[in-house]
């Protein structure tokens, strides 16, 4: 279990929990970033922040501060699939 902010570029993880009351944007959840979703950290911006992550067939940028509130499970056997269509 690690915060999303600590993933390495290219690493997959499965979202374990989010903490909406601690300010996870409602928008991220609307985009489908919900527990159980497989995601991949694509890269960090050249200056280190924000991050680009891929999940559910889309690439979304979010800041480190938000990524810290997202706990991912990197050990879960994440199917190395393109996370795109359901």
């Amino acid at each position: 279990m690690t915060p999303l902010s600590q993933l390495l570029p290219g690493q997959f993880g499965k979202l374990a929990s989010l903490n909406p009351e601690r300010g996870v944007d409602q928008r991220l959840m609307a985009l489908g970033l919900l527990p159980g979703m497989v995601l991949k950290l694509i890269r960090r911006a050249p200056l280190g922040d924000p991050l680009a992550i891929e999940f559910g067939g889309q690439v979304v940028s979010l800041r480190l501060a938000e990524a810290e509130n997202l706990i991912v499970d990197v050990s879960a056997d994440c199917p190395i699939q393109r996370p795109r269509q359901p």
Binding site: G32, L34, A45, G56, L62, Q85
Partner: protein, 717 residues
């Protein structure tokens, strides 16, 4: 645009960047701006759409949004439109949900929320061409059945494919009123929703729909409660107990809504999409290059430099052609009117000289908008925001401020409107406040004139472009600390989330890009024909009258030995000086004396407060009044180069010294000289307070910086 009677109203709703505006244009034949960036449409636009059988409905294009839990003002527009909450507007009779075919799950989340409103809906799976290219096959019939029989059609709005199906689907949705299948709320959540609806209805005496209850229960933002007039005191206890109830059933109340909808949709979509062989998008590969740690910023800088470079150099030849045309016109018109000196002066010096001086910049404006269009339509704009976010967060803004700020280099008005995509009202205010600092295209003519007349001839073309680029940075240089102080100390903006979808790259579509360029060019030209034209004539009249013949007589008598030529010049100079404009300029000049401005520049500066580019035409008029036929484009430059102080301590030295030229450009870079910007700022910040603040702040800053530049440079040189 006539509203059909009896008016049926149909709203286009969907995620950002799915092609709503493109579909709107295809259905109505209008031209709304489109672009490959989430948040192109920021306000409601309407048009008439023929349903194919002669029946007409009013169609509204709305901003894109991901969820009805609205956060930013552009999203609120959609919520209000859906609930018929906009003054003078009705609830839509049907909702067209525009969906990106390549990502059904995420797009249908919004659709599923909208279904809760109980309106008839049509589901349009747009960008079908892209889905096909990626090898996705979608069973629209199955999807339609799973969603309770609502029409589901595929379209490629950009190619104009499937538009007729969309028209028919709207007609059938309106006729049959089939509602979309709704989620089944878990018992505890359903009970909590009923409780909220009942209490709110009792407290406010208004009708509270199920959809309203969902917004009240799930959202942190109070817009629905405010609309119903349900006060904090009234709702606090009810909402807390209802949310506890949701929590006790195992759902986090803030996440319950997306969790339930997404679970529902996964079942709905089971077997709807089959993945066949297809090309995966190349966006990831392009991003590896354009967002590379080292190459990314280098390319970013390269693109920006290329941008400004091309605006300057590509426009050179077309500008010369226009100038040639203007001069030729003057050469033809002026001699015809030798018998009517006043008319000659009005046409040649006033109208052709003034408006022509402004029109010369049309090619630069075209290239500027071409470039911005390409950046936006290709999908790079969102990447630029991604790269720049860190720098912006440092001064309290976020990457979403980047797009308004960059487009501020073209024009402040659309960029002030595009700040609506920023959720946090304070961050939005701070962004809007610094947008006018960006060096808009109207400042361009000023720099271009000064550089071409003084910097270029004196220091060579190299320095000319350095000064040009430097001038574009002056505003930025002051904007950053301004934003910093504003966000950190004055407004105390909280750090905000920056959630931005990076759209897939696409070839910029020439049609859209050129249309955009064309529209802006038309605006520029019509401005030349209206505002600039009017101000030019006023300035001309003020600097032509009064024209007492005794003045000429007196000069002739005083200089008996002077040649015809010299005499004429002396007479003209005296006339301008004793004109209304001359007298006024001289009276006000002391204010601008520390910046090294003479009374003619002062007149130009004052006339430019409604629109800064007026300075060019004003200088064109004040420096050429009475010159008639001899005046050509070289003339304005030459007249300015030759201008000398006639009195005071600086008598005999050139008015346009390096110090004064730089001070003038810096003054124009910073001064708040644009009526429409001030008005838009007032509109977007909800009052005149910030607009007035911006005006005073920028104008004072411009005066101080101009003075500093002049005083420093004059001492150094």
């Amino acid at each position: 645009m006539s509203t059909p009677e009896p008016g049926l109203l149909v709203a286009l709703v969907g995620n950002p960047n799915t092609g709503k505006s493109t579909l709107f244009n295809a259905l109505t034949g209008l031209r709304q701006r489109v672009g490959n960036y989430p948040g192109v449409t920021v306000a409601r636009k309407s048009g008439t759409c023929d349903l194919g059988d002669g029946q007409k409905v009013e169609l509204v294009d709305l901003p894109g949004l991901y969820s009805l839990a609205a956060a930013s003002p552009d999203e609120q527009v959609v919520i209000d439109a859906l609930s018929g909450n906009i003054a003078g507007d009705r609830r839509p009779d049907a909702v067209v949900l525009v969906v990106d075919s390549t990502n059904l799950l995420r797009n249908l989340f919004l659709a599923s929320q909208v279904a809760e409103l109980g309106r008839p809906v049509v589901i349009v799976l747009n960008q079908a061409d892209v889905a096909k290219e990626q090898g996705l096959r979608i069973d629209t019939e199955l999807l339609s059945r799973r969603l309770g029989g609502v029409p589901v059609v595929m379209s490629s709005a950009w190619k104009g494919e499937g538009i007729l199906d969309v028209r028919r689907a709207i007609a059938s949705a309106v006729a049959q009123q089939t509602p979309m299948k709704r989620v089944a709320w878990p018992t505890n959540i359903a009970a909590a929703l009923t409780e909220v609806a009942n209490v709110a209805a009792t407290d406010t005496g208004k009708v509270v729909t199920e959809a309203d209850a969902q917004r009240l229960l799930f959202d942190t933002n109070p817009s629905t409660a405010d609309r119903l007039g349900w006060t904090v005191a009234q709702r606090e206890k009810t909402l807390r107990s209802a949310r506890d109830r949701v929590r006790n059933s195992g759902y986090n109340p803030m996440a319950a809504e997306p969790l339930v909808h997404y679970a529902h949709l996964r079942i709905v979509l089971e077997g709807v999409v089959t993945e066949g062989a297809g090309k995966a998008g190349r966006s990831a590969a392009v991003d590896r290059l354009l967002l590379h740690r080292v190459l990314g910023p280098v390319l970013f800088l390269g693109i920006m430099l290329g941008f400004f470079g091309s605006v300057f150099w590509l426009a050179k030849f077309p500008m010369e052609w226009i100038q040639f045309g203007v001069d030729a016109l003057k050469g033809v018109v002026a001699p015809q009117l030798d018998a009517y000196p006043m008319l000659q002066s009005l046409l040649a010096d006033g109208i052709i000289g003034g408006v022509g001086a402004f029109l010369v910049f049309l090619p630069q404006i075209l290239i500027l908008f071409l470039f911005i269009g390409i950046l936006e339509d290709s999908g790079y704009m969102a990447r630029a925001a991604f790269i720049m976010d860190r720098l912006f967060s440092w001064c309290g803004l976020n990457g979403k401020s980047f797009v308004p700020l960059l487009s501020g280099f073209a024009c402040a008005i659309p960029s002030l409107l595009s700040t609506r995509t920023i959720e946090d009202p304070k961050a939005r205010l701070a962004t809007a406040f610094v947008v006018p600092f960006m060096s808009c295209s109207a400042r361009f003519p000023v720099y271009a004139l000064m550089c071409a007349a003084f910097i270029g001839p004196l220091y060579g073309p190299g320095w000319q472009s350095v000064v040009m680029i430097g001038m574009h940075c002056v505003g930025l240089f002051f904007a950053v600390p301004t934003a910093f102080v504003l966000t950190r100390l004055v407004l105390k903006v909280k750090p905000q989330p920056f959630v931005l979808e990076l759209p897939r790259y696409q070839m910029p579509k020439p049609r859209d890009v050129i249309w955009r360029m064309w529209q802006n060019a038309a605006e520029f030209v019509s401005k030349a024909g209206t505002v600039i034209f009017a101000i030019t004539i006023i300035v001309w009249a003020l600097s032509y009258f009064p024209r007492d013949p005794s003045v000429a007589e007196r000069i002739k008598v005083a200089n008996p030995s002077a040649t015809e030529e010299v005499l004429k010049a002396k007479v003209q100079a005296t006339y301008v000086e004793q004109s209304y404009m001359g007298r006024f300029g001289k009276a006000v000049q002391p204010i601008f004396d520390p910046l090294g401005f003479d009374w003619k520049i002062t007149v130009g500066v004052l006339a430019s407060f409604p629109a800064r580019e007026v300075i060019v035409s004003t200088l064109g008029v004040t420096y050429s009044v009475g010159e008639g036929a001899e005046a050509d484009s070289q003339h304005l430059r030459k007249a300015m180069q030759d201008a000398k102080w006639s009195e005071g301590p600086r008598a005999g030295t050139p008015i346009f010294s390096l110090a004064a030229v730089l001070a003038l450009m810096v003054f124009f870079a910073l001064c708040s000289q644009c009526g429409p910007t001030i008005a838009t700022l007032a509109q977007e910040t909800g009052g005149w307070k910030w607009a007035a603040g911006s005006f005073v702040y920028m104008t004072a800053l411009a005066w101080l910086a101009g003075t500093a530049v002049y005083q420093v440079v004059i001492r150094l040189s």
